[in-house]
Symmetry: C2
Subunit: 241 residues, 2 copies
């Protein structure tokens, strides 16, 4: 499903970047704002976040203890409480890190050389990779269920996905790649729901690796419905395998 041309960094490498964070992207619950941290402190913070995300993904918010996170992160209790005021602050920071990762991903993939529909396929491919492989994305999606909801978390996750997909589909429509009458926003909502639903079903069955096959199946049904025959012919010719 992933076009040969795609060379964007993987979700994991984007998420693990130790480059400067955007101002305001950190969680205001945290004791220290990521933007103000030195590289070593940022690395410590990311190690704690990643260890916490693994625990949250596996056991959920309520069954995760800060002591078990601490043991896996290799850090000290002092470092943990310097970066995160509480377990909830830590969990909110995992969600914020995930949401920022989705934004970075979009920036990496939307670039010259990929038509808008191919860019959408590449974006979904990287999202799926993140949901299968990346602890931050796996922990973050579970935390969205476990924690009391916040509008900015939900808007940054599902809402951003719908907006990004709708924008690419809108560009695809303008470029004449979509069939007549296809509504970008409506299709975008179905794509995000398909990914969210298949992820949930795979999680429930403890079989997250079948997520890719399930999403590929969704495309085999969806693409002939929305894309022109000309685009489909080009895409099928370029597909690996």
């Amino acid at each position: 499903m992933q076009p040969r041309a795609l060379e964007a960094g993987s979700f994991h490498s984007v998420m693990s970047s130790t480059g400067p964070k955007r101002p305001g992207a950190g969680d205001s619950d945290a004791s220290a704002e990521p933007a103000a941290l030195q590289p070593r402190a940022r690395a410590t913070r990311l190690a704690i976040l990643t260890a916490a995300a693994e625990h949250f993904a596996r056991n959920g918010y309520h069954a995760t203890s800060l002591d078990s996170v601490l043991a896996d992160s290799g850090g000290t209790k002092g470092a943990l409480y310097f970066h995160f005021a509480s377990k909830e602050a830590l969990a909110r920071a995992v969600i914020a890190e995930m949401v920022q990762g989705w934004g970075d991903l979009r920036g990496h993939i939307s670039r010259p050389g990929l038509d808008p529909l191919a860019a959408l396929l590449a974006l979904v491919d990287e999202v799926v990779r993140g949901l299968i492989e990346d602890p931050i994305a796996r922990g973050g999606t579970r935390l969205l269920n476990d924690l009391p909801r916040r509008a900015r978390d939900v808007g940054g996750h599902y809402g951003r996905g719908e907006r990004d997909a709708a924008a690419l589909l809108g560009q695809a429509a303008q470029a004449g790649l979509l069939r007549d009458g296809i509504e970008p926003a409506l299709v975008a909502r179905q794509i995000v729901a398909l990914i969210a639903g298949h992820r949930q079903i795979c999680d429930a069955a403890a079989d997250r690796h079948s997520l890719r096959q399930r999403v590929d199946e969704a495309w085999t049904l969806l693409l002939p419905t929305i894309a022109t025959d000309a685009w489909l012919a080009t895409w099928r010719a370029a597909k690996p395998g």
Copy 2:
């Protein structure tokens, strides 16, 4: 979306039935098997289950206390512990009740007079109604995320949905209602994922009433892809509104 011809009992009325339970349908964690209960004890059990499901749907498993369930159910602590040995037993019983409700629903809707594709639309319509209105279905789906997973719960929920949808789509294919090359099992997986995904997105946004509109949108994209022009013409002519 719901065909005029549909007269099946609503999800809620099916779920609230005080008729005899199927042997083995109850949760073996519970202290008393529902099949053995007198009508009054069954009504008490259902009142406790419903009150618990409301709490689980609103606050999740971990933030729900048996005392708050007890206060809302109007029952006694003795009655609660007679029926359910623990909070987990109560939660598992909510899931079991939901899973049985899906099975009863399928039996009510699959009947003479509705072609298999119209029956699938009616079934999805009732599932959506349950997910919006019925405390047992709303609490049960949330508990599937909150509790450690069990194969029989997952199989009875998503797995049953996929099997039921695939069976109806298989009958639709045999009756010549589907376009050539449409695979019933593949389409069934997308339908269940769309419902699960839209439900999750609506829940996250605290906007469960938009679930119906979102699923209706999914059908406007999906039906022209899978159904023959003849079926679509008949369906559009019969649609209310």
